[in-house]
Every structure is written in structure tokens, then in C-alpha cells.
Subunit: 195 residues, 2 copies
């Protein structure tokens, strides 16, 4: 259809191959073969393998913002706890639909250890979740749905739980994620001050 349909196909194919075999073990030859073009044609669209990896990362980053999963205005005194539970579970569900996501992110985390460009964006994304949860918890306190204590620590715990659940799910660990997230929300969000 579009004049850059090849461009998109390359990105989609790269996403899959990178997740399956890893960045290093996925060669430009493999991608070209899978897309059914020659290697120089591939280099026409992307100046290097690294640039495919970079563009892919930016695309992924766009889709993982806190606001994509939580809309603070929709939280009321009546639905606060149950909505926080169900919205969190939606994230888990989304990861179950895309088995490649966490495998790819694991590799971007590794890149981040050596390249600040990647770590910066990953940290920003996590910060976005923490900041979002803080705002959500403060909203909850304002409307009288929850206690007004330790918002930052609670938000950091929720961020870590979300991240960790993604990780464990992608590894095929049969944990009780629904019960875990529910308990996290119920006890953490309700719970009082740390001594």
C-alpha cells in the first residue's frame, strides 16, 4: 500500500527476529531474507543494524506510557480499589498477548548498561509509572478513597510489582499474578505508615 510498506515490514520482522534470537545473533542477512529483499535493499531503508534497533526502541517506548493504562480522572471513591486492580491486570494481559515484548525489553535493558541513550529512556518510562502512581494515590487520598500516607514509597512498590510481574510472566512462571496484584493493591494502598 504505502510507499514505505517495506520500511514497516522490516521493523515488524526485526522485532520478531530480535526477540527470538537476540540482537547479536540476528544478522542483517536473516532480516533481509525474512523480508524477502536483498541486503543492500535493507541498507537502503536503514543505514545500519543499530539504527533498526534504535527506531524499534522509540516505537516501543511510545506504547508503554502510564497514561496508556491508567486514567486518573476515571477513579472515583466508589471504584478506586477495584479499578486500580483491573487496570493493573490489563497490563499483565497485554504482555500475555505479545510474548516478544519482555524478551526485547530485556535486551534493551542490557544495552542500557553500556549506552545512556537506552537507559535514559527506560528510566524515564519507569519514572513515568512512579510519578503516575503518586498522582493517582494523591487523587485517591483527595477524594477520600485511601489513606494519605507514603504515596511515593507506595508508588515505587506498585511500579516494581508491575515490572516484576511482566518479567516473571515472560519466563513462564506460574505465579498467582491476579492474587498478587490484588493483594498488593489492597494491602499497600490501604496500609498505613511505615514505622
Amino acid at each position: 500500500m504505502s510507499i514505505s510498506s517495506t520500511y514497516t515490514t522490516i521493523l515488524e520482522t526485526g522485532y520478531r527476529l530480535f526477540a527470538e534470537h537476540g540482537f547479536e545473533k540476528t544478522s542483517m542477512t536473516m532480516i533481509a531474507k525474512e523480508v524477502n529483499i536483498s541486503k543492500p535493499a535493507l541498507y537502503y531503508h536503514f543505514v545500519s543494524k543499530e539504527s533498526i534497533i534504535e527506531v524499534l526502541f522509540d516505537e516501543i517506548c511510545k506504547s508503554i506510557g502510564f497514561e496508556n493504562f491508567f486514567t486518573i480522572q476515571d477513579y472515583t471513591n466508589d471504584n478506586f480499589e477495584e479499578k486500580l486492580i483491573s487496570d493493573g491486570l490489563r497490563i499483565i494481559l497485554k504482555q500475555n498477548e505479545d510474548i516478544y515484548y519482555t524478551r526485547i525489553m530485556n535486551q534493551y535493558q542490557a544495552l542500557g548498561y553500556r549506552n545512556p541513550t537506552y537507559s535514559r529512556k527506560l528510566i524515564d518510562s519507569l519514572d513515568g509509572f512512579t510519578t503516575g502512581f503518586v498522582a493517582l494515590l494523591q487523587h485517591g487520598a483527595r477524594i477520600g478513597a485511601i489513606e494519605d500516607t507514603d504515596a511515593l514509597v507506595k508508588a515505587q512498590m506498585l511500579t516494581m510489582m508491575i515490572d516484576s510481574m511482566d518479567n516473571f510472566i515472560s519466563y513462564g512462571l506460574a505465579y498467582h499474578y491476579e492474587a498478587i496484584w490484588t493483594k498488593a493493591v489492597v494491602t499497600i494502598v490501604r496500609g498505613g505508615t511505615v514505622r
Copy 2:
């Protein structure tokens, strides 16, 4: 000293280089140069690069058992909560001492996605923590230190929190880990049943 001092040096050097540059970007030439031997000398001690990575993994796995951090018998009715907190914080402290640890484990996790030998051992290690926490919580309930509810879910949450804290610390995120772990222990362990 020992006849296999070179063998040990290779492992230590490999650990550092693999953490710094990654498995793929660390070549046998680099390791040989850093150890100050030739490449064939390196191949005398290890039949392949993969075998260095494997031996390294087994060494690491030995040091991350639940029992290395938590001794159930030492938990009494008086010290239960505070000991669980301090023992957990000891794990965090240990990771701060070895900045390479999480970087290496991140890569073994990636290997595990494609090789069951690695994922099997990683999952066993996590299972060891969950099983250990269950036993610890049941012990706590038996001696009347905590409520006797949802031991498995609580144990899974604690395992995930430990794993996640390691991860976030290694990424340089300045979270309130002490407060987070304390709150996790206090609210999760004390807290009642999930509705």
C-alpha cells in the same frame, strides 16, 4: 599458587568482561589479552567460549540460594518482622557490592529464553526463594508471629520484590528501597486474606 590459577583468572576476567561488554561483544581474543595469555592457551582451559559462560553460570547459581540469606530457625516470635526486614536488606547490600552481578544475570535470563538449561536453573533459583519464603511464613504462623493466611501469594510477592529491587538498583534508580522492603514486609506479612 595452584596449578589451575590460570583457570580461575580466566573465570574472574570473563565475569568482569561479560558484565561490561556482554557475552557476544566479549571475544576470546579480549579475554586472552586481559588474562595475558594467548588464545590457544585459553582454549586449553576451556573448550569453547560457551563453556566459560556455562561454568560461570554454575558458579553464580551456587551463591544465590535462599538459605544463603535466610535461616528459618533463627526467626522467633520476638524478632520475626525485624529479622525478615534486615535479612532482606542484606541481599540488597550484597548486590550493591557487586555491580556486575545483575548485569550478568540479565544476560543469562536472555539466554534462558532460547536455552532451557539456563531457564531451568534460573527458575529453580526463584522457586527456591518462593518455597523458602513459604516455609518461613508458615514457621512465623506456627510460632504466632504472623497471620496464617495466603502464605504462597505472600511468598511470591516477596520473591518478586527482591528480584525487582536488585534490578532497579542495578539500573541506578534512586528508590527508597529500605522503606519499600520494610513496607512490603510489614503490610504483606501482617495483612489479612485477599477478598
